[in-house]
C-alpha cells in the first residue's frame, strides 16, 4: 500500500493556493468522536485492526467518501507518513505508532477521518489561508453523514466523550498556522503568547524544537473545548489569529522605522546562507526562508519571489523532500 498518486504528486500545489502574502498558511479543524466501547488505547494490535476494519467498512458506504483513499497506516513507508504529518493530516502518534490505525482521505486531501488513533474516529478538515469557517462547515456536514451509521458516545453534561478529557465536550480542536517573524523577533513576543494563553488558546512553534519557533511560524489552537459552542470556539480563534496578524504588521513597520539596517542585515545574511551553504537541516532552512519572506513583505528583498519562497518553505521539510526525490532516506 502506498499513497494514492494524486496526493503523492500534489506536493506543493495545495500550499500555492494560499495567497502568497498571507500570514496564515493553513487552517485546520478536527472533531473527536467515539463509539460506546473501550477506546483504542486499551486495545491490542489485533483488536485495533478489527475495529479499523469495522469502521472503515461503515465509512466506505458514505457518499462523501466516494473516490476517497482508504489507507492502513502501518503499510505506508515512514517518509510517506512524515509527508502526511508535515501536511497536517497526521499527528506525531500516527508517525511513530501507526499499527492498527486507518486513514480515510478525500481526493484532494482536504478532509480525512483517522480511525483507531487515540479516539475511535477523528474527522479533520483543512483549508489554505485563514478559513476556519469552511473547515467547520465541512467537518460538521461530514459528521452529520457519519451519524447515520454511528452512534457517538455522548453525555448530556460532558458532551462528546473522548479518551483524553481535554478533548471532551465539543471534541473540537481548531488550529491555524501563522507566520509572525517580526513579532517573534521582538521583546514583546512572550507576553503576546501568554496573552493568548489567557484566552484559552495554546501556542507553539510550528517547526521548532522545544519552545522555539524558527521563521516565526507558530501554531495557534484552542486548548479548551467544553462549555463553549462550536461556532464560538471557531470565531474566538479566528479573531485571535487576526489580532496576531495585525500585531505582526505593526511589529514589521516598527522594525523598519527603528532598525532598518538590522533588518537589512538579517535578510542579507539569510539570503547568503541559503545561497552558499552546502548542508542544511529543515529547521534552519525554514528559519532562513521565513526571514527572507519577511524581508520580501517589508520591501527589502525582491528575489526569489513570494511564491517560490512559499514553495520552498513546504518542500524543504524531510517528508516532502523524500517524496520529491522518490526515495526513502531512512530504511527501517
Amino acid at each position: 500500500m502506498s499513497l494514492p498518486p494524486p496526493l503523492a504528486a500534489d506536493l506543493d500545489r495545495w500550499m500555492l493556493e494560499v495567497p502568497a502574502d498571507s500570514g496564515v498558511s493553513s487552517s485546520r479543524l478536527r472533531l473527536a468522536r467515539n463509539l460506546a466501547e473501550p477506546f483504542p488505547g486499551l486495545m491490542d494490535s489485533e483488536e485495533k485492526k478489527e475495529l479499523r476494519g469495522r469502521l472503515i467498512e461503515a465509512l466506505a458506504g458514505l457518499t462523501s467518501f466516494r473516490g476517497a483513499s482508504f489507507l492502513n497506516l502501518e503499510e505506508l513507508a515512514l517518509h510517506e507518513r512524515a509527508y502526511l504529518m508535515e501536511r497536517g493530516i497526521l499527528g506525531e502518534e500516527s508517525l511513530l505508532s501507526p499499527e492498527g490505525r486507518g486513514l480515510v482521505l478525500d481526493e484532494k486531501g482536504w478532509c480525512s477521518v483517522l480511525v483507531g488513533g487515540e479516539d475511535h474516529l477523528r474527522i479533520q478538515c483543512m483549508r489554505p489561508g485563514l478559513d476556519l469557517e469552511t473547515c467547520y462547515t465541512s467537518a460538521d456536514s461530514l459528521e452529520a453523514e457519519m451519524e447515520e451509521v454511528f452512534d457517538f458516545a455522548f453525555s448530556e453534561s460532558f458532551g462528546y466523550l473522548t479518551a483524553c478529557p481535554s478533548n471532551a465536550g465539543t471534541g473540537l480542536r481548531a488550529s491555524v498556522l501563522l507566520q509572525l517573524p517580526a513579532l517573534a523577533m521582538g521583546e514583546d513576543f512572550p507576553r503576546v503568547l501568554r496573552g493568548m494563553g489567557a484566552l484559552g488558546l495554546a501556542v507553539r512553534g510550528a517547526f521548532g524544537e522545544g519552545g522555539g519557533a524558527p521563521g516565526g511560524f507558530i501554531q495557534l489552537s484552542n486548548a479548551r473545548c467544553l462549555g463553549v459552542a462550536e461556532q464560538d470556539l471557531v470565531e474566538g480563534l479566528h479573531e485571535a489569529a487576526r489580532k496576531l496578524l495585525s500585531f505582526e504588521e505593526k511589529a514589521r513597520d516598527r522594525a523598519l522605522r527603528e532598525a532598518q539596517s538590522l533588518l537589512d542585515d538579517q535578510v542579507a545574511r539569510a539570503r547568503g546562507q541559503l545561497e552558499y551553504a552546502q548542508i542544511m537541516g529543515a529547521s534552519e532552512a525554514i528559519a532562513l526562508l521565513g526571514t527572507l519572506r519577511m524581508g520580501h513583505l517589508a520591501g527589502l528583498a525582491d528575489r526569489p519571489g513570494l511564491e517560490a519562497l512559499q514553495k520552498a518553505l513546504t518542500l524543504v521539510r524531510p517528508g516532502h523532500l523524500q517524496m520529491l526525490e522518490g526515495l526513502s532516506l531512512i530504511h527501517i
Binding site: 477506546f39 457517538f152 478529557p165 465536550g169 522545544g210 467544553l226 462550536e230 534552519e284
Partner: protein, 174 residues
C-alpha cells in the same frame, strides 16, 4: 548518546526514536534539529501544545482526587489511578464511573463542566424531553406549594407521560 545523528550526521544524537515494523524494532538516534524536523519534540518543554498543557495540568490536579481513587470502571476495568498515570480514560463509561472527580477536573481544565453546542441527532429528542421533564417537575412543585391542585394534577400527568416516553426511548437505545 554522543553518536552523530543518523539523518544529518552533523550534530550529536540526543533523541532515540523506535519504530516497530512487522514485529521488528528499529531505533534511530537523531539530533534535535532532525528530530524537530520530523515533528518530534526535542525536549520536554514542548511549548504550549495542547497536549503539553494537559499533561502539565494533570500532574498537579489529579493528585487531589479522593472520591474515585478506589474505583474501577465496570465496563473497561480501568482504575482512576491508571487515568492519573496516563491522562487517558479507558472507555466512555469511565466518565460516569468517576463522575465526581471528572466534573471537577473538567471544570478546572476547561473552565466549565457543562457541554454547550452540538448534540447527536439520536440523543436530541431524549434531551429535549428531559429538559421538558425538568421544567414540568419544577412547575409541579410550584403548583403544590401554592396549593393550585388542579394545575398540580395536570403537571403530574405531564411528568408521568414524559417519564414513560424517555424510558421508551432509552430502551430503544436512542
Amino acid at each position: 548518546m554522543s553518536e552523530p545523528c543518523e539523518i544529518c550526521g552533523c550534530h550529536p544524537a540526543r533523541i532515540q526514536v523506535t519504530e516497530i515494523r512487522d514485529g521488528r524494532r528499529k531505533s534511530l538516534h537523531l539530533c534535535g534539529f532532525c528530530a524537530a524536523g520530523w515533528g518530534i519534540r526535542a525536549s520536554l518543554d514542548g511549548g504550549q501544545a495542547p497536549e503539553a498543557l494537559w499533561n502539565a495540568f494533570l500532574s498537579v490536579q489529579a493528585k487531589d482526587a479522593e472520591e474515585s481513587s478506589s474505583l474501577a470502571c465496570p465496563r473497561c476495568k480501568r482504575t482512576f489511578m491508571s487515568f492519573e498515570r496516563s491522562g487517558r480514560l479507558g472507555c466512555p463509561e469511565c466518565y460516569q464511573t468517576f463522575q465526581g472527580d471528572m466534573t471537577r477536573i473538567l471544570r478546572e481544565y476547561h473552565g466549565a463542566s457543562e457541554h454547550r453546542g452540538k448534540v447527536p441527532f439520536r440523543a436530541r429528542r431524549r434531551i429535549q424531553l428531559r429538559q421538558r421533564l425538568h421544567r414540568s417537575r419544577a412547575a409541579l412543585q410550584q403548583a403544590i406549594s401554592e396549593e393550585r391542585f388542579e394545575d398540580a394534577a395536570r403537571f403530574r400527568d405531564e411528568v408521568g407521560d414524559l417519564e414513560r416516553e424517555i424510558e421508551r426511548l432509552s430502551r430503544e437505545g436512542s
